[in-house]
């Protein structure tokens, strides 16, 4: 569901601490940030630690722990958030293969709601 639109490549760019991408919530309603169980980013086949991913939404930045504890602020349907990924080491400018897994904790689903997207994006 909405896998096709999860990654927003236009927002991808290098940052001082690593890189950023745009992301949409792959779900048909908004949820509190606490319900976003996992955000896992894979770059060129390497799975990056989830603790290195922060989310910028509604003008605020949440690291993993802050996100897990945020019961009020919401990621609304269709809203583009920025995912800021800390990454040391060199990141060559140009095309990269980006993977994004988002796992939601939805009360009425007996199973985790995991959605996975992958695409080549330009990170400059």
């Amino acid at each position: 569901m909405y896998e096709k639109y999860m990654i927003v490549p236009e927002l991808a760019k290098k940052t001082e601490k690593g890189f950023e991408i745009g992301a949409r919530l792959p779900y048909y309603r908004g949820v509190s940030l606490s319900m976003v169980e996992e955000i896992e980013v894979t770059l060129d086949g390497e799975t990056l630690p989830q603790s290195d991913v922060s989310i910028l939404i509604n003008g605020k930045t949440y690291n993993l722990e802050q996100r897990e504890n945020e019961l009020d602020d919401r990621w609304e349907m269709g809203e583009v958030a920025t995912l800021a990924i800390a990454k040391s080491g060199e990141l060559p400018a140009g095309e990269h293969k980006l993977g994004l897994k988002i796992n939601l904790r939805i009360g009425y689903m007996p199973f985790p709601s995991i959605r996975i997207a992958e695409r080549n994006i330009i990170i400059n």
Binding site: Y5, R24, S32, M35, R74, M77, G107
Partner: protein
């Protein structure tokens, strides 16, 4: 031709365009009204930012302004209970009740008369909430969604609450997705695109149409293939149930609203999987007099390769309901 069954549109139907910001909330209301539907349903947490927090007075004014402008009525709000909203903590009944009440306040403020209660809500919680719903004149409707049906054990426990309390503010909301005589083609085709064996898919579709119990089909497929995607095709038969539409009859007076699920409306304004003519005939004959709200859900199965046209799908579904004698 007209009848006592009224037509509504759930704005959920336009989720693809709404998600992509091709349509805003007013556009959705306008599109619904343009089909001739007179009622509006929303998933509050989809259509109204911040829901279930109470919307601002400005929003409320605008909302009722749209209702007037497009000559439609608020009909139903769909709520959820996020039991595990907080990581590692499962809501107590009191917490669930408080969340539920907030949805009632939200629905009441926007003029909705019905709340779609999510299927995992326990009978005990609903029983605790009924007085509050009565005070706000909101009818609660537990959604009877496949693979449940209106006579399932779980629904019988809710029925027991309805009987014991004698309330007029709790009933059923059948989702027409529980009457899939054929498997939805858009789901099967997508699985084939994802690698499912077309021959196995064909077999599963045939078994389903023959009315073979899903467990038998799943067992047969498990002997043909050990690939997960093939098993997933077999399990479509478990999730897209068909039951005799007559199963609704003993509960007609307890049906407070209906979800007119559709996944693929054909050009001739029939649904590929669901024999709406048969279900609506039962509803008409036995005097159902609430709304059927179009709930288009095909987008998720085709968005990977096709352009989604929710507006046209909803238009066809409304035309079908009209053809079958629902609404004006």
């Amino acid at each position: 031709m007209s009848s006592n069954i009224k037509r509504a549109v759930s704005l959920y139907s336009y989720q693809e365009e709404f998600f992509l910001k091709k349509m805003n909330l007013e556009d959705c209301i306008a599109a619904a009204a343009a089909t001739g539907a007179t009622g509006i349903e929303i998933v509050g947490e989809q259509s109204v930012p911040g829901c279930p927090k109470l919307p601002s007075d400005a929003f409320v004014d605008q909302w009722f302004g749209w209702m007037d402008k497009y000559k439609v009525t608020p009909v139903a709000h769909d709520m959820f209970l996020d039991y595990n909203k907080k990581k590692g903590h499962y809501w107590s009944d009191d917490e669930a009740v408080e969340s539920f009440k907030q949805d009632i306040r939200f629905a009441h403020k926007l003029g909705f008369k019905v709340i779609r209660v999510i299927v995992n809500t326990t009978p005990q919680i609903i029983e605790k909430v009924i007085p509050f719903a009565e005070d706000h004149d909101i009818k609660l409707g537990i959604e009877v969604h496949a693979p449940w049906n209106i006579n399932s054990a779980w629904m019988e426990r809710h029925w027991d609450v309805m009987e014991r309390t004698g309330t007029k503010h709790f009933g059923f909301i059948p989702d027409m997705g529980g009457f899939c005589r054929r498997l939805p083609r858009v789901q099967v085709d997508r699985m084939i695109r994802n690698g499912a064996d077309p021959e196995i898919a064909k077999f599963v579709c045939e078994q389903h149409e023959k009315g073979i119990m899903a467990e038998y089909t799943i067992f047969e497929v498990s002997r043909m293939s050990n690939r997960r995607i093939d098993m997933a095709v077999a399990e479509l038969s478990r999730h897209n149930t068909f039951v005799n539409p007559l199963s609704l009859v003993p509960h007609i007076d307890r049906i407070v609203h209906i979800h007119g699920k559709c996944l693929e409306m054909l050009e001739d304004c029939t649904e590929y999987s669901i024999p709406y003519n048969e279900v609506v005939a039962v509803l008409l004959k036995h005097g159902y007099n609430g709304y059927i709200a179009t709930e288009y859900e095909g987008n998720r199965h085709i968005q990977d390769v096709y352009e989604v046209d929710s507006v046209e799908q909803v238009r066809r579904h409304q035309q079908m309901l009209k053809n079958l004698g629902c609404g004006i």
